[in-house]
Symmetry: C2
Subunit: 691 residues, 2 copies
């Protein structure tokens, strides 16, 4: 009937406005049942469950079989990691898969068949689930003894497909690929040409003394290629040229030419190309989000205007229907109030045109302007003076000065105690000043609360941080006194365990340092720098997500490939360790260290390394790395490491630099051209452009 139709329209409008709020696409089923399912699916609980499931399935790697998440990584001291019985992690996995099956079915149903066939992400999702479930069945039928588990490498896909930002970023990266490929091709040509030159230059000679360069770095084609590839990462930079240079200085020209061309020109060109592609990325992203929002609002308008079933020239929406919708939409209470207020003030008529409707919802684009609660008003003259004194910014500056004094004093104590034996140290001085500073911080907090009132005090994030810090310091200090007694000359609290109570006090003291970061916004340029960094962190989530996806896949592939590749050390055979790989690879994307450590050492030098180990009595983990590498070399592991280097160190870091440049230039232009620009104004401009 008409009432049911009306209800449906109202519901549709509600969903469309919620889509607009969340910047979602409005391409989904709109019948009554589907709308209910849709609202349920996008409810906070459901989405939270989905995120939790993804987190759980990704975290499984830390406790699964070839991993060993222990405190120490030193194989001599570490206790064997807890080995979950067969079926435990597997049943958790199955539960996660079931959630994903529900997720994919609901999603597919909601977007409808036509859209489904066009959506490659959904297809891939289903395929991944099928492969994972098949692998799971294989795993159980072998009673968890099988070595290869494909489903683990596929896991990060679940993270990827759940984030629209990451999908968008991936699309952007994808469009840069052809250009990146041409630079990488140029790089490959550069590398191969120089490799051939090197092999001709550093050929074997009859004089054994003279061909050290050949023996070490250019023995054959793979060795030469590797040496120069590592030189491209600058990891073996002067080492590789020293033997040749000591023979004839002119050889250095070859290496300098290679480095300048490859490293300075081609590598940086990659940055330029990626940045060029990402120019305007932020603006485009904002535009497309706003487009979705405007589309959602427009759809809601159309639906609501068809409610009246009047086919006038100009469609309109009744205020009463809109009020019903706004009441039911899940949105920020501040926005809802603002919309209601606007509706009441400037809409005296009971009809809204499309333009008015849009304008009403512009409130969504505005950020909340935070208002601090007022200070308490004291009657007493003395209290008013107190309030003036301690509410004044100078009192805050005094606090900063005291914190600086605190840091300087800690620094002095550290420098004085640096070379003393633990038994010689006298901690009386440090204990005494700690006591003094904590008292000051406590006093400062109380005076500020007195001057500003508790509510106003807590409305500033910096005050909340200071207050929390002061309370933690106080608790720790009281605990210290309870355990060790009051400080006196010769006072020396015992160091117990990794991080004793005493260490804790010192570390919390260090947190006071962060009070200084509050000064930064007062300095003109520093403020720009810091806000850029903070903005960057916001925009970085998608990039970080992609890094995590690649990282996870690489780490697990590494474990699978190099399982058993570790040489026996002493009497124990050590497993390849998930977290170990994780950390090593994690650092790689900054330093290309692994390329250095792993690839440079070839199988022939195994004995040298062994001798070196004997000499140094070095840490086992470091040895392991070396020994691992020695064995890896024989197994074409180079390709794996080079691929990782390319993705993490070359491409990802360049993407990061591009994003940073984009953020900074965007911010800088806004600051220079229109000084007092707020976010709202900016978004309005974008919106105008968009129309």
């Amino acid at each position: 009937g008409a009432a049911a139709d009306n209800d449906l329209y109202i519901n549709q409008a509600i969903v469309f406005i919620e889509d607009a709020i969340q910047y979602r696409s409005i391409n989904h089923r709109v019948d009554s049942k589907s709308l209910g399912l849709y609202r349920w699916y996008y409810s906070r609980t459901c989405q939270w469950i989905l995120s939790l499931t993804i987190t759980i399935i990704l975290a499984l790697a830390f406790i699964e079989k070839p991993s060993s998440l222990t405190i120490t990584s030193d194989v001599r001291y570490r206790v064997p990691a807890w080995n979950p019985p067969c079926g435990l992690t597997e049943s958790i996995e199955l539960l996660c898969f079931l959630v994903f099956v529900v997720d994919v079915s609901v999603k597919s149903y909601l977007i409808g068949w036509e859209e489904f066939w066009k959506n490659k992400w959904l297809m891939a999702y289903i395929l991944t689930l099928i492969v994972s479930l098949a692998d799971w069945i294989v795993s159980l039928s072998f009673f968890c003894t099988e070595e290869v588990r494909i489903r683990r490498i596929l896991r990060p896909f679940f993270l990827l497909q759940n984030s629209s930002m990451m999908k968008k970023t991936l699309k952007s990266i994808n469009s840069t690929l052809p250009e990146m490929a041409s630079v990488v091709l140029l790089l490959a040509v550069h590398l191969s040409l120089f490799t051939m030159f090197a092999m001709l230059l550093f050929a074997r000679t009859k004089d054994g003394q003279q061909d050290k360069e050949w023996v070490r770095y250019f023995r054959n084609l793979p060795d030469s290629l590797t040496s120069l590839l590592v030189l491209l990462t600058t990891a073996n930079n002067p080492d590789v040229m020293i033997p040749a240079y000591s023979k004839n200085r002119a050889y250095s020209i070859f290496f300098i030419l290679f480095t300048v061309l490859g490293n300075l020109f081609l590598m940086n060109l990659l940055t330029a190309i990626i940045y060029n592609q990402f120019r305007g990325y932020l603006l485009k992203s904002v535009q497309s989000s706003l487009f979705r929002r405007r589309l959602g609002i427009r759809a809601a308008f159309e639906v609501l205007s068809s409610l009246k079933e009047t086919h006038a020239q100009q469609s309109y929406v009744s205020v009463e229907a809109l009020l019903r919708v706004v009441q039911k939409v899940e949105m920020d209470s501040r926005c809802r109030q603002a919309i209601m207020r606007s509706l009441k003030t400037w809409c005296s008529c009971d009809k809204l045109s499309a333009a008015q409707f849009q304008k009403l919802f512009e409130e969504l684009d505005k950020d909340a302007i935070k208002q601090h609660p007022p200070s308490p008003e004291y009657q007493s003259h003395f209290m008013q003076k107190m309030q003036f004194a301690f509410g004044h910014p100078y009192f805050g500056y005094l606090g900063n000065v005291v914190a600086l004094a605190n840091i300087v004093s800690i620094c002095v104590v550290l420098v004085m105690d640096a070379d003393k034996q633990p038994s010689e140290r006298d901690d009386f001085f440090l204990g005494a000043i700690n006591c003094f500073f904590i008292l000051y911080y406590l006093l400062e907090m109380f005076l500020k609360i007195l001057a500003m009132g508790l509510k106003r005090y807590l409305s500033y994030p910096s005050n909340r941080f200071d207050g929390l810090l002061t309370v933690i310091l106080l608790v720790l200090e009281i605990a210290t006194f309870a355990v060790y007694g009051f400080p006196h000359p010769g006072w020396r609290p015992e160091l117990m365990g990794l991080l004793s109570l005493w260490d804790m006090v010192r570390l919390v003291n260090m947190l006071i340092v962060f009070r200084f970061l509050r000064i930064i916004p007062n300095m003109k340029f520093m403020a720009l720098v810091v806000t850029t960094l903070l903005d960057l962190v916001k925009n970085l989530r998608a990039f970080a997500g992609i890094l995590v996806v690649v990282f996870y896949a690489f780490a697990l592939t590494g474990i699978m490939l190099f399982r058993g590749a570790v040489v026996p050390l002493g009497n124990s055979r050590i497993r390849c360790d998930f977290f170990f790989c994780f950390v090593c690879f994690g650092f790689l994307f900054q330093t290309s260290f692994y390329i250095n450590k792993v690839i440079v050492i070839s199988f022939k030098e195994k004995r040298d390394i062994m001798a070196l180990f004997g000499h140094f009595q070095a840490e086992d983990i470091y040895h392991l790395l070396h020994l691992l590498s020695v064995n890896l070399i024989c197994r074409w592991a180079k390709i794996y490491f080079v691929a990782w280097w390319l993705i993490s160190s070359v491409i990802w870091v360049n993407l990061f630099v591009a994003l940073l440049l984009e953020n900074f230039i965007h911010k800088w232009d806004r600051r220079c051209h229109r000084e007092p620009v707020s976010d709202i104004e900016y978004q309005r401009t974008v919106e105008l452009m968009f129309r």
Copy 2:
């Protein structure tokens, strides 16, 4: 009289137009005598003598006393370097100084007293000369035995002040300094905060086994600061965290946090800031050059119009006077002809207005469009067919394919011979294919000359390169046959010396590879990349000059500071060596290797290093580096190296990246927005903007 006045005006006009051509300022004396001096000073000979003098005085460092420019850098084999007698280099220096004195006097005279007092560069020039001469006198009065020679460090100033591009670039860099300073400040805050955290975290414990991290990297404040500074250069990246990580994995969080914040965020922010400052640098530079040119032409017009001494409303210039001026101006003959032609065609009247005058000289802004001479026209039908066949691009492609085959064959031989003893090798195959390929290249060259005619053939740079290469190959091949006879199975030319004739043949073969670089312009995106790189090289000269200036000053300061800092090795005491420092420092700006190698090794580990040396029997130069470093540490040399790292690796490389980005984006925008844009058109656009 009036005739003398007229001559003066004509001369002034000539000089102003020459100023315009060379983009020089017109701020100089314009009396008759000064104009003669001015033209003499800016004549090619004079400027060439000045450049030569600068080159000579800079090159002196290679033969001066503490240097040792020998072929090998291995102290065991190298012969003592030639030690010039006292007074030889000094008298060359004096001659150079005299040239500079003349230079500065003429320059000061020409710009006039008023301008002189405003010109800081000239003042600094005079001051440098005075200090240098004083130092020279001191040096001679000590009979060249004095240790400190300040004038050497001042030498690069002469290079700097002679280049207006470098002065302009320096000004740009100077304007970026405040912003760079704030990031460096942020970096310093970051470093010091984390240093204190580290010292608290990795404090000395009673258990000797547990505090390896403390012993190695965080023993005291300077050690901790150094460890983290080196971590900022990523040189000691995983090493520094391994002891702590093997104790407790959680410690890695500290290092990851430090690296991500410092290296990924702050360091890249520096790139962003420098790039932001250099945006539009190219455009501004072009604009200011064009401004100078237009000013010069306008000045010439004013001078020539005052020739007539008519005070009409509209000033004008007679064509006859202009013709006299153009005849006498030193300029490109192509431009002169173009201007004469324009004068004759579109100026039927004998008067030129200011606008017409400017338009006439726009010819200067245009680049020559090179026209290749026509192919010869053959009468014979057969020759015409030949011409069609060998003038066709496909014939060029065939040549590339043959060159590829050549490279592949060399590669195959190299791979096959890689592990063979020199005595086992059979060079017959390589000799035979070399012979074949050289014959082909020869044939190709002759056929191309036949098809295109010699003039047309030589008008293409790629053909000139190919032809030259072919001739060199032919000469080498004939020489090889003369020495070793024709190739036969078992043929094995002796390897003689560093680069025998045989090696030469192989190396020249390798040059054939560069024929492939001709393919690049045919590929759309590659062409952009390569032209960007070539443009970059043009724009880079000023930057490279500044690097040379800093490099030279640092290398000579290093020699002066660290003279005698080398520890005795065997029985010989080795001097610190100019070229050695040069190369080491040269590589540093890419890898921050020196920071790694020099700073990480502290005095305490001296014995370890000695033991290591015994173990490895490593090269002397490498030892020297280490031993040098061990001693340097004690002498606050860290500051020197850190300063060098900051300037070369941090600031210069970022400047380079900024310039590359600027070049690339500039080029890309031109390509995308207006497809068939020529340089002329671009310059016109700039010009329009400028008006």
